[in-house]
């Protein structure tokens, strides 16, 4: 395969991967952030302590975390069809990607929120701040830098998951690597795909680091 043939294929696949990762990150944050807040909030020393709720949430998260993504992806196919109407293509892939990443991100949110000093939370209580306001005005803003770092790690995980989603015909760089690199022995394309993925990960990490550092520097 010539370079001229490779470039458009790579360009198209990269764009698909970027879209998949973008949408699945967005949904992961939308669902994972409240889940992480709930994990911390329902814990014994949390703002809304509830043993039952905490253990239930923890169980759900752990189930999500224990299934290898490649199995989870296939297992949720019926749900994907229900939601998107199809099981192939990049929008269909967003469903398993989100389901796979939400529990992971929720744990990262949990770690980030636990990093907020108990002193500050106690001071807010002493000021008569309501528990919901403590979440929105103290915990989340104080954990901003750690949350951004968590999103960065999630984006990178999603880049790798999205490549796996190539197996079920999701499109993107993984799909390209399987169809050309693996099934047609196009080694140069395989290598080029790897390089593009590495560049994507580097970009995500640098951007995330820069943002997290900016937030941290403002302390």
């Amino acid at each position: 395969m010539t370079w001229e043939e490779m470039v458009p294929l790579l360009g198209q696949a990269t764009w698909e991967t970027v879209q998949m990762v973008f949408w699945s990150t967005l949904f992961t944050v939308v669902f994972g952030l409240p889940l992480g807040v709930a994990l911390v909030g329902t814990s014994r020393e949390g703002l809304f302590p509830s043993r039952v709720a905490n253990q239930l949430l923890s169980l759900i998260v752990n189930i999500g975390r224990s299934l290898p993504f490649i199995i989870l992806m296939i297992a949720v196919i019926p749900f994907t069809r229900l939601l998107v109407g199809t099981t192939i293509g990049l929008y269909a892939a967003v469903v398993p990607l989100t389901i796979g990443a939400v529990p992971f991100f929720a744990r990262l949110v949990e770690i980030a929120l636990r990093g907020v000093s108990g002193d500050v939370v106690q001071a807010a209580h002493a000021m008569g701040v309501s528990r919901t306001s403590i979440v929105t005005k103290v915990l989340l803003p104080e954990a901003k830098a750690a949350l951004v770092a968590g999103i960065t790690v999630t984006v990178i995980t999603l880049v790798s998951y999205s490549a796996m989603a190539g197996v079920i015909g999701a499109g993107g760089l993984g799909d390209l690597a399987i169809r050309y690199g693996y099934q047609r022995f196009e080694t140069p394309l395989m290598i080029a795909t790897c390089v593009v993925i590495i560049i994507l990960v580097q970009l995500a990490q640098s951007l995330g680091d820069a943002l997290a550092n900016r937030l941290a520097a403002r302390r």
Binding site: Q122, A126, G128
Partner: protein, 316 residues
């Protein structure tokens, strides 16, 4: 202003508060002095119910807190200021943002809020740092922000949780001076806990000494110092343990009357000075002298000293 009765709090087998009564009068600076683990922090946190006592009642400004529901308790807390050992500022907000935080929570409008913030920062002498981040401030400046934030809701009472323990001696004095000034200018009642005698000595009107979850003695400082057997006096003046027959003389006010030389001249006694110290406490000076008296008229000499208004304790 703060009235607590029968406070008891246990953590598992540990008794943090063992039936504590506390009475802080309006407009005074009340210090709770004790080593770490004495229960003083639990006591302070019980006053605004950050810690709920197992038994006992707490009234602040005439309002009983233990029976309030969550919403009413929150409202009550907005009028009880609190400052913290490690300042507990929000690192994601500027100095002005930190002071504005309680006002935001109270639902004050933006224009009114920024005027009030400016006023508060001016009051604690840190107006020039309004746009700085807490991370850029020194410890003393951070505590000033903490104080401004605590005063936002115009509290009648300020609770200070080891507020100067993380500061160096010079900064400690300046923060104590600020608290004293706020006490005088705003009529602010201050309840502070500390393990530093220096804090009690420099600004407190009254003190409670705590150990093992109980208050050993409490009351106005000058009254305590002139009470025989006072632990406060013993801690304030670390004289060596007296030997039997040694006499400890405590005097308050100006020491301009030469009582010792009078005693020696009037009675047939010899006085040897074993130790002594003079401290400025609660706006006046208090001294302690450890002497031993020898001679035929020792008991007459002691009576004479007592008649002069001195506190005379003879070690058994």
């Amino acid at each position: 202003m703060i009235q607590a009765a029968g406070l008891r709090r246990t953590y598992g087998d540990t008794v943090a508060l063992d039936g504590v009564d506390l009475h802080v009068r309006q407009g005074e600076i009340f210090g709770v002095l004790g080593q770490s683990g004495a229960g003083k922090s639990t006591l302070l946190r019980c006053v605004n119910l950050l810690e709920r006592p197992d038994h006992g009642t707490i009234a602040v400004a005439g309002q009983e807190l233990t029976t309030l529901g969550e919403r009413d308790l929150r409202a009550a807390r907005q009028h009880i200021g609190m400052i913290h050992q490690h300042f507990a500022l929000l690192s994601s907000r500027t100095v002005a943002g930190n002071v504005a935080f309680p006002l935001e929570v109270m639902g004050m409008g933006k224009a009114e809020r920024s005027a009030r913030v400016a006023e508060l920062l001016e009051l604690v002498g840190i107006a020039d740092k309004a746009d700085a981040r807490p991370g850029q401030l020194s410890g003393g400046q951070k505590q000033r922000v903490g104080i401004a934030r605590a005063l936002a809701g115009n509290p009648k009472v300020l609770l200070a949780d080891e507020a100067t323990s993380a500061l160096d001696p010079g900064t400690t004095s300046s923060i104590l001076a600020l608290l004293k000034r706020l006490n005088a200018e705003l009529g602010l009642t201050i309840l502070l806990i500390t393990h530093e005698m220096n804090v009690v000595k420099s600004i407190c009107d009254s003190v409670a000494i705590m150990s093992g979850g109980a208050i050993l003695e409490s009351g106005p400082i000058r009254g305590l110092l002139t009470t025989p057997g006072s632990r406060l006096a013993a801690e304030l003046f670390p004289l060596p343990a007296p030997e039997p027959g040694n006499v400890t003389i405590t005097f308050t006010g100006a020491a301009d009357e030469p009582v010792i030389s009078h005693v020696v001249r009037k009675f047939d006694v010899d006085v040897s000075i074993l130790g002594g110290a003079l401290e400025d406490v609660a706006g006046g000076s208090v001294g302690r002298l450890r002497v031993s008296l020898a001679g035929a008229e020792t008991s007459a000499a002691l009576t004479y000293l007592r008649e002069r208004g001195l506190i005379v304790e003879v070690a058994a």
